[in-house]
């Protein structure tokens, strides 16, 4: 293969994943949290594609496609939630959503 080897792909994937995690844990707006979540999903997609190339089997790419579909579904529901919250004039603040308090 021309170009960088698989470890490089995996490195990028790891960086993206950590960035996504940091975003999920640190940000306050649910919208940004969702975006960070997308970053994480894409990172895993990259890893899938990389490994698929390494082993020469397309199953990784198949799975990456499935992940994309599920991510789309999840975004749909998540955004629906955010819109519903906004419509009820709730603060779009993750720290305010404490109904899970034990």
């Amino acid at each position: 293969m021309n170009g960088p080897g698989i470890p490089w792909y995996l490195a990028i994937s790891a960086i993206l994943f950590s960035t996504g995690i940091a975003g999920v844990l640190l940000r306050r707006s649910p919208l940004i949290v969702l975006l960070s979540l997308e970053i994480m999903l894409n990172a895993s997609n990259l890893a899938f594609v990389g490994f698929s190339r390494l082993f020469g089997q397309m199953d990784g790419q198949v799975f990456a496609l499935a992940v994309m579909a599920v991510a789309a579904a999840e975004v749909c529901v998540g955004l629906g939630l955010i819109v519903a919250m906004a419509r009820r004039n709730l603060d779009l603040d993750v720290d305010r959503m404490t109904e899970l308090r034990g």
Binding site: D95, T98, L100
Partner: protein
């Protein structure tokens, strides 16, 4: 014989369980009928067993039957076994026969009480427990029966539980009996460790052939004596019996006159090999009997409650039985037990008729002149009293004098002390019983006597048993006519061979003296009554007697006050800080832990997400390392 015995034992139990399970679904009358019937069925069983035994040869009259092995611990085995022999048959007949009559009487006496069913259930239970005691084939079953009759006594004394005096009396009875039970149990533990068994045969053999040390035998005998003294209300464990009169009159008749209190005498007779191996203890029994005989007799002279007089009389007569057993005259002691069951139960039931008629009045100062209004009761009461004093031909004459004659035959210092004391007791008996008789039935009716004339002497269910007992008190004595016909003695001989047998001369001589003294007592009582004065004049003596020789006060100071002090101390020093505090601490800590844990669930999604991340990180690390 065995089948009869099983029927005898289990019928009252079945009656008890039937009433218990039926609860309020049966009427009170039906409960009474069930109870009475079950006891009489028991009597039938005992009778069948008795007849069967009678037809056998004298050597063949003992049977030990085991239902199953009840307890087993290593080498130690205890079976659920019954011992049917002449001695237990005598007791079975007395318990179920007299018991049946008394339960029949209760049908009339307790009619109208709110809790009749409970009463009849307890009565049936008591009969069962007493039968277990006398039929038990080993010391452990005896102890079980012993404890159960104590329980029945507690339940029945405190039957009128809304009365604090009744509750207190029940507790007192139970606690004093518990002392006896504990002492007996300790003796049994010793037996198990020394002999390895509680079977009568094994224990008696070990005691006889010198396998046990003298100390062990003495301790065992003392333990048995302790239990007997508590159960039979002998000095020093006697203070519960007068208080036990708080129970209904039929209860007093059955438990505290005819049967339970005589269990001590039965015990000594049953375990006589042990006592014979520890003669000092046996003599102690006789002396305790003498002491009780005299003390109870004098206290009875100052009592105003009709039932208390009869209770002290019971104590005194059991003293006679202990005296007899203490010198080895087992047959006569048992004979006196039988006759006493008849006339004492008779006295109690007749007293019950009086009390019932006078709507609960028990103070003899408020009675009088009932001779005319209650002729039947008067006649039966008189018969009972005459039997008690030992006037020929009535039952007490034959039995009491036989014991005294045995004391005479025993000889030695002990024999003479017992003999003279016993004769003195005969005088006392005459005094107190006829003081009672004259007060109740003669003279003018007291001003406060508010007996209703509207009902007759009593229900038939009450009168019939009284009559039967009166007849019994008259004829039962004839089972031992010295020198002529002594079937009772011969019946018991194979099982309990007496240590002394008085000669016919001794017996008739003693009888003459005793009857004379008894008659003297009657005359003195009559004179005092007609003169309108009491036999014991007011003064220090009378006060002491009225306080029952200060026994209650002594026990209160010696045991109750220190006991309560210790209990209070423990409560303040141990219970409250340690136990209560400990529990509080545990609860507090749990609560604190829970609060701490719940703070983990902050509701902040952020924290949860952080936790996920950390977990993922750790897992990744683990996978990488372990790979």
């Amino acid at each position: 014989m065995v089948n009869g015995a099983w029927v005898c034992l289990l019928a009252p139990l079945a009656g008890f369980l039937a009433i218990l399970l039926a609860g309020t679904r049966i009427t009170r009358r039906q409960a009474g009928i069930v109870s009475t019937a079950s006891v009489f069925v028991g009597f039938a069983g005992a009778l069948v067993a008795f007849i069967d035994a009678w037809t056998r040869s004298p050597d063949d009259r003992t049977e030990l039957t085991t239902a199953w092995t009840w307890l087993q611990a290593g080498q130690f085995k205890v079976g659920l076994e019954l011992l049917i022999d002449p001695l237990s048959l005598v007791m079975m007949l007395v318990v179920t026969g007299v018991g049946g009559l008394i339960v029949l009487y209760s049908n009339g006496y307790m009619a109208g009480d709110d809790e009749e069913r409970r009463y009849f259930a307890y009565m049936a239970f008591f009969v069962f427990a007493m039968l277990l005691l006398v039929q038990g084939g080993n010391l452990l079953l005896l102890l079980v029966g012993w404890g159960l009759v104590g329980l029945a006594s507690y339940l029945l004394i405190g039957f009128h539980h809304e009365r604090p005096s009744a509750v207190a009396a029940a507790k007192k009875a139970f606690v004093m009996n518990a002392i006896g039970d504990a002492v007996m149990a300790l003796a049994f533990f010793l037996t198990i460790s020394q002999v390895g068994s509680l079977d009568y045969g094994t224990v008696f053999a070990a005691v006889d052939d010198g396998g046990l040390s003298d100390t062990a035998v003495t301790l065992l005998a003392l333990g048995l004596l302790g239990g007997a003294v508590a159960k039979s209300a002998q000095i020093p464990l006697h203070t519960w019996l007068p208080d036990a009169m708080e129970g209904p009159t039929p209860v007093s008749a059955l438990i505290h006159a005819a049967t339970m209190v005589t269990a001590g005498v039965y015990l000594i007779c049953r375990t006589h090999p042990v006592f014979e191996a520890a003669p000092d203890v046996q003599h102690l029994a006789a002396l305790l009997g003498l002491a009780t005989l005299l003390v109870a007799g004098v206290i009875a002279l100052v009592q105003w409650d009709i039932k208390r007089v009869i209770a002290y009389s019971t104590m005194s007569q059991i003293g006679y039985m202990f005296l007899g057993a203490g010198i080895g005259a087992y047959g006569f002691a048992m004979f006196h037990l039988v006759t006493h069951a008849f006339f004492k139960a008779l006295l109690f039931l007749a007293a019950g008729l009086v009390i019932h008629r006078l709507d609960g009045e028990q103070d003899i100062r408020k009675m009088g002149g009932l001779r005319k209004s209650m002729p039947y009761t008067h006649a039966t009461f008189l018969i009972g009293s005459l039997a008690l004093v030992g006037i020929p031909i009535f039952a007490g004459f034959w039995s009491k004098d036989a014991i005294l004659a045995s004391a005479l035959a025993y000889g030695g210092a002990l024999g003479w002390v017992l003999y003279v004391g016993g004769l003195l007791g005969a005088l006392l008996t005459g005094l107190y019983s006829f003081r009672l008789y004259y007060r109740v039935f003669h003279g003018e009716p007291a001003a406060e006597a508010h007996g209703a004339e509207h009902h007759g002497e009593g229900d038939r269910s009450m009168l019939v048993p009284v009559g039967v007992l009166a007849v019994g008190s008259t004829v039962v004595g004839f089972l031992a006519i010295p020198g002529v016909w002594e079937p009772f003695e011969t019946w018991l001989e194979p099982v309990v061979e007496p240590l002394v047998t008085p000669s016919t001369t001794q017996e008739w001589a003693t009888s003459a003296v005793a009857v004379a003294l008894g008659a003297l007592g009657i005359l003195l009582a009559r004179r005092a009554f007609l003169a309108g004065r009491e036999l014991v004049p007011d003064g220090a003596v009378r006060t002491t007697l009225e306080h029952k020789l200060w026994f209650d006060e002594l026990y209160h100071a010696l045991f109750e006050r220190p006991g309560q002090a210790v209990a209070a101390l423990l409560r303040d020093r141990v219970e409250t800080p340690v136990v209560q505090g400990g529990l509080d601490e545990v609860a507090g800590e749990t609560l604190r832990g829970a609060t701490l844990t719940s703070s983990l669930q902050s509701g902040l999604l952020r924290t949860y997400a952080l936790a996920f991340t950390v977990a993922v990180g750790v897992l990744t690390l683990v996978f990488l390392v372990v790979r």
